[in-house]
Symmetry: C2
Subunit: 761 residues, 2 copies
């Protein structure tokens, strides 16, 4: 059992490491050399330029002004100063709302922490149960927790009352925040400029017609069923093969550029490569010639495939983007059922063009339901049985296994140092590798489920990741044994026993979670701001590849806030806070520090660094809300289980009221707000249409929408068309640069690679 | 344990009683005297008239033709002969589809019965487990069941294979039937004539506006948001008080008529009544005068209230019926969200005018969610704790209790005969009374939940009733003890133990369910066709009240198929069949006989007797389908539990596949068909509009719709306006009467009483 001193020591170590990270960051960010690593957002917006033209040579790379170092923490107030409205305009609503989750954590937990420390801790400390029993090992931490209250004591009523206060306070904050976010979203949608997706509906499962092509069929159907509103449509080509080819060419071109640069630097020696695997095996050839030839050949192939797709009617998928004359028309078509067969002519709001996940548009209805079944079953196995393949790999990775497969390594392995390294690290590395690969695995599963936009894919992945964390990290930490063993013991226990089993274990694990919060939360977040990996890659690229200013822009990697991975992790902190609020209140300050620190750091990051790849208008908030509700219910059930083991059985019905109220509260909020995140009300569409007609009477919508939803590979070399949404009218107080107006090609992003894998992990 | 002989005897008794009922029915229905009891449907349709004008006096009342008695079962083929399409036109789609549920039972169970008897029974009989053990009492029935297969025997694989075959066959039949019913519904909606609800949307939660009345607000809102389609609207008056008053007057008028008739028959003596309770207590007065005065006074009140409602703006509820120029416009408005606040301007398809439950239209959103919570909680208590109030009443109704409350009854009660009567019957009667009142209680709960149409109220009640039957009849019969005790034991058992506990008990209860099917199913259904209660009331009314032909029409009580009570009861038979199909196959023939018999009888009843009060277009089918799926899953889980006790543990994963597949199948069907029961596709709306515009170019829709949704009390004495939907173009092969065309006032139903309580229980 960790004592208060242990925790204090651990806290000191973590605080020191956090301070070291922050100091390093404060130093590095002031160097002009690293400007593109720590302020890429401003470069992308065109508000900041490389400091190459003016000043002394050295000061271009290193900051020599001593005064700036003294104010090394001044980025913190600066990060907090920017008002929300400006953040929304600067970084988009998604980012602004995602940072808001940390603020929500503060709103929930600050009053709870005060209350708990003022009321619960004195009640617990004076319980004197642990002091009166000699046989139990206990720590100072336990004396502050509910474990110190004697069995069947009347003091538990204080805890029960507190559980009620906590629940209602959480309801209040959650309700207010759902309302605020819904308002923000509606205001955001109302204020944003014209975008193709406002006028467009994605139609899937176009039924085959023996006499007409897909394009004709779509046109006829919508001209009949929406005669006044139908404007035009764009069919979707099955360009997956072409996209693969283009991606391959791009990769080869990268290599070519690499070798050309190498050659330019050392003109004496022509660079060589090998034909085989990874350029390591195979015969040696002249690298530049080799890649030039390859690219030429593939480009010819590409043109052939491109021709074939455009001429072949079979390459047209049974899906289309149908655009309407007004937002009103699109809103109606997206919300209504078109055909009496509900599995064909399925309409939904079109995602933003850059948000479309093209490969999934063609999946027919029956296949979709089969895919969802398969993914659900595999998610179950992944969550509860993930240790089995890991254990298998680990068993292969042990010494005997390696010796069997690669007998010539035997003398090396048998040395003590290597042996202990293999035995100590390999199993851990196998697990670590799996956990690193997990988000990708979950994203792949979501892709198999057939969602049509990256934003929905991210939301689905986040749900899966949350389940995994809940089962394997939260429950897995409380109860020993693998998730599968837990599952087995759960289904062989009465339902009332499960909260008891976990409830008993919970107070004992408080110190573990405190340490976890400090290591993973505090230090992890501080490491985030240092951006070690982008820093290293930027300088490597800068040294070896970058020749022109454009290259330097490519070398810059702003990264983004990934909802699929970061949100479930925040939820774990919420869950720990909710569970321990009544049980071990001393844990709450640690959670609070995490939320406050993370809020500041991520606010700074979205202002200066991250560049979001799409904008969903905070469509993920219902998920966040739902998971907070789940956490609340888990906390209540575990508290109930704990009290039952403490012989306060008569309290069960009293606490059982809480989860019922919570479920009701969830339903209430769902009915009240959720549709603001799903549907687009006619009234708002009408207002926007009317306004637009008045301000731009001569707008030719047909031209505007004609090429909006063309598969990126058909856009050729032109930069990916980003609609100018949030770039206008922004005020930027943090960077004193001349405000410039810029539309269109603000981002130097490429076409294919972006469409293929711009989800950052 | 019941033996085959016991079952045979019981079957013989039940078959005899069924035959007796049928013979009585065959005799009674041939008497002209009872014509209005057994053929009211044809009277209501105007295709049959009282045989009072022609023939000898006696033959007006009693059938003297001997030949007709010899063909006393000829109604059976006649009932089966009418094709489905004609039944739909004659009795409506709701009735036709409800009878189809019995047919579905036959489709599922006929092949299963054959397979089970041919394969499972031989496998069971040759198991010889029961013969080899002496200590267990067993019956012949058990020898035919799975109980006769030795523990851990390989024979169980036959049962598992059969469970798979059963599941897939059920899938096939359910899928086909869902498809057929969905098609029937779409065809029905497409073919039916013009009805006000096709053009109308019910708008609830109209927000208050300080400057405008509700009516103006609605008009402005929809003229702006649906400018091309909005036609007119009708506000909803809060006429509950008025409706009560009208109902009261109607009741008094009935009494007046009664005494007037009495006076006419015996002119010498003026009838008297007493002023107090039920006309028993209080001072004696002249009855005719008393009631005339009362009616006069109340009519004056009524007129005042009527004036007040029409002039008072507070009497207008925040709800309205908004009508559009086309079905297309209404379909769009019903399916889209109007305002960005999803709790105001809620639109949904308007129910048929006669289907509207007026009292519920005014409930605001927050109140609605609170009501649903309260009803959900009370339903839980009603289902699991219903024995507690019953036991309380029973304890009051025992001898000591009565003596305490009414001490003067002591000498009477203490006699042996009365004593045994009270002790033997009162507790049973208390339970019986509760069960009789149950559908009313459930309907009241559904009304509290705030649904706006009778059809949805019935569907909700049916769900509640199903839960009650499942817990208290099905599980209650298998496991002894009250539902609450079961609940308690379930939550204190591991989830895997529950199917085991029930699974073990199931084979032993087979004889109980066989008897239940014969008594409740066979004889109950046969009693249904006799219509004893309507027969008795009709003749009583005929003797004492009826003076004119119109009175006789009022005395006729056609009744109706009540979805809320009958469907959950059918589901019980399905459930029993599904559960026992693999376990005790000998039960299946009894279920089969029930389905076949009930199908015939109810087909006869909907053709000749029942008069449905509204038409929902089989909107209940998704519920029926869902409950069959639930039954299937219960059967699979119980089978799994049974096999685990039989030490065939390795079969668990194999059977666990079945419920997962079943859930997936349900989701698949839901996605495939459900929206056909919820939404009205734009394509179909368009087709109907276009057709109507071509055939009736001069139709004035405004006049047609103007008064369609007026609260029935404001329609005064005119007969309730029934839209002429299914009365046209019907062919009636069963009754050789001249075909007449009739629109509008075909039903002599009254306004208030119908709107208030036309749900038959």
């Amino acid at each position: 059992m960790a004592t208060l001193q242990d925790i204090g020591l651990s806290a000191a170590i973590n605080i020191l490491s956090v301070l070291a990270f922050l100091a390093a960051f404060a130093f590095l960010r002031l160097q002009p050399l690293n400007d593109r690593v720590y302020f890429p957002k401003w470069y992308l917006k065109g508000l900041r330029h490389s400091p190459t033209k003016s000043g002394a040579f050295v000061s271009r790379f290193i900051n020599l002004e001593v005064g700036t170092y003294l104010r090394f923490l001044n980025w913190m107030p600066a990060a907090l100063k920017m008002p929300t409205q400006e953040i929304i305009e600067h970084a988009g609503l998604d980012s602004a709302v995602q940072v808001r989750i940390y603020l929500l954590g503060l709103k929930i937990f600050v009053p709870l922490t005060l209350l708990s420390l003022l009321i619960l801790v004195p009640v617990n400390v004076t319980g004197e149960r642990l002091e009166s029993t000699d046989d139990i090992q206990y720590s100072n931490i336990d004396k502050l927790s509910i474990s110190n209250v004697p069995r069947g004591s009347q003091r538990f009523w204080v805890h029960i009352g507190m559980a009620y206060i906590f629940t209602f306070w959480t309801f209040y904050v959650l309700y207010q925040d759902y309302k605020t976010v819904a308002d923000m979203r509606l205001r955001f949608l109302a204020s944003e400029g014209r975008r193709p997706d406002q006028f467009t509906v994605l139609v899937r499962n176009v039924p085959p017609d023996p006499d007409e092509s897909v394009s004709e069929h779509v046109e006829h159907f919508f001209s009949v069923s929406h005669p006044d509103q139908y404007l035009l449509h764009q069919v979707v080509f099955n360009a997956n093969e072409l996209a693969d080819l283009v991606a391959k060419i791009k990769k080869l071109q990268n290599w070519l550029v690499y070798y050309q640069t190498k050659h330019e630097r050392k003109p004496a020696k022509r660079p060589t490569t090998r034909k085989g695997l990874f350029g390591i095996l195979g015969t040696k050839v002249d690298a530049i010639e080799y890649y030039s030839n390859l690219i030429e050949k593939l480009t010819k192939d590409e043109n052939e495939v491109r021709e074939k797709i455009l001429s072949d009617s079979k390459a047209i998928m049974p899906a289309a983007f149908v655009s309407f004359k007004s937002r009103y028309g699109a809103a109606i078509c997206a919300q209504t059922q078109q055909s009496n067969n509900p599995t064909i002519w399925l309409t939904e709001w079109a995602p933003e063009p850059r948000d479309v996940y093209w490969s999934n548009l063609k999946i027919p209805y029956v296949e979709l339901t089969v895919r969802r079944l398969l993914v659900a079953v595999s998610l179950f196995f992944l969550t509860f049985f993930f240790m089995i393949p890991i254990a298998f790999v680990q068993s292969l990775a042990n010494i005997a296994g390696i010796e069997r497969v690669l007998p010539f390594l035997k003398p090396v392995i048998e040395t003590d140092a290597v042996k202990s390294l293999i035995q100590g690290f390999l199993p851990g590395i196998a697990l670590k590798l799996f956990l690193l690969a997990l988000p990708t695995i979950l994203m792949t599963m979501s892709k198999v489920e057939g969602f049509a936009s990256f934003s929905s894919l991210e939301r689905r992945s986040a749900s899966k990741y949350y389940l995994f964390i809940l089962v394997n990290v939260f429950l897995g930490s409380i109860i020993t044994g693998t998730a599968f063993e837990q599952l087995d013991s759960f289904i062989n226990q009465p339902p009332t026993e499960i909260p008891k089993t976990i409830g008993v274990a919970i107070p004992m694990k408080a110190t573990f979670f405190i340490t976890y919060i400090m290591v993973d939360g505090w230090s992890g977040i501080a490491a985030e701001i240092l951006r070690f990996v982008p820093l290293a890659t930027y300088h490597l690229k800068n040294t070896f590849i970058v020749k022109t200013e454009k290259d330097r822009e490519h070398a810059m990697d702003p990264g983004c806030l990934s909802f699929a991975t970061s949100e479930p992790q925040i939820q774990l902190y919420f869950l720990v806070g909710q569970v321990y609020a009544v049980i071990t209140p001393i844990l709450l300050p640690f959670v609070l520090v995490f939320f406050a620190f993370a809020y500041m750091i991520f606010r700074h990051q979205i202002i200066n660094v991250y560049d979001q790849k799409y904008e969903s208008g905070a469509a993920f908030w219902p998920d966040v809300h739902k998971r907070l509700i789940i956490g609340q219910i888990i906390a209540q059930l575990l508290f109930m289980g704990l009290l039952r083991t403490e012989k306060v059985n008569q309290s069960t019905p009293l606490i059982l009221v809480l989860p019922i109220l919570t479920i009701w509260f969830h339903k209430f909020c769902k009915g009240r707000f959720e549709s603001a995140f799903m549907k687009f009300p006619l009234q708002d569409a009408m207002v926007k249409d009317t306004l637009e007609r008045a301000t731009e009477p001569n707008l030719n919508l047909k031209i505007y929408l004609r090429d909006a939803y063309v598969h990126p590979v058909f856009k050729g070399g032109t930069p990916f068309d980003r609609p100018p949404v949030m770039n206008e009218e922004e005020i930027s107080p943090l960077v004193a640069t001349r405000r410039t107006s810029h539309r269109g090609s603000a981002t130097p992003s490429d076409t294919i690679s972006e469409a293929e894998d711009f989800i950052c992990i």
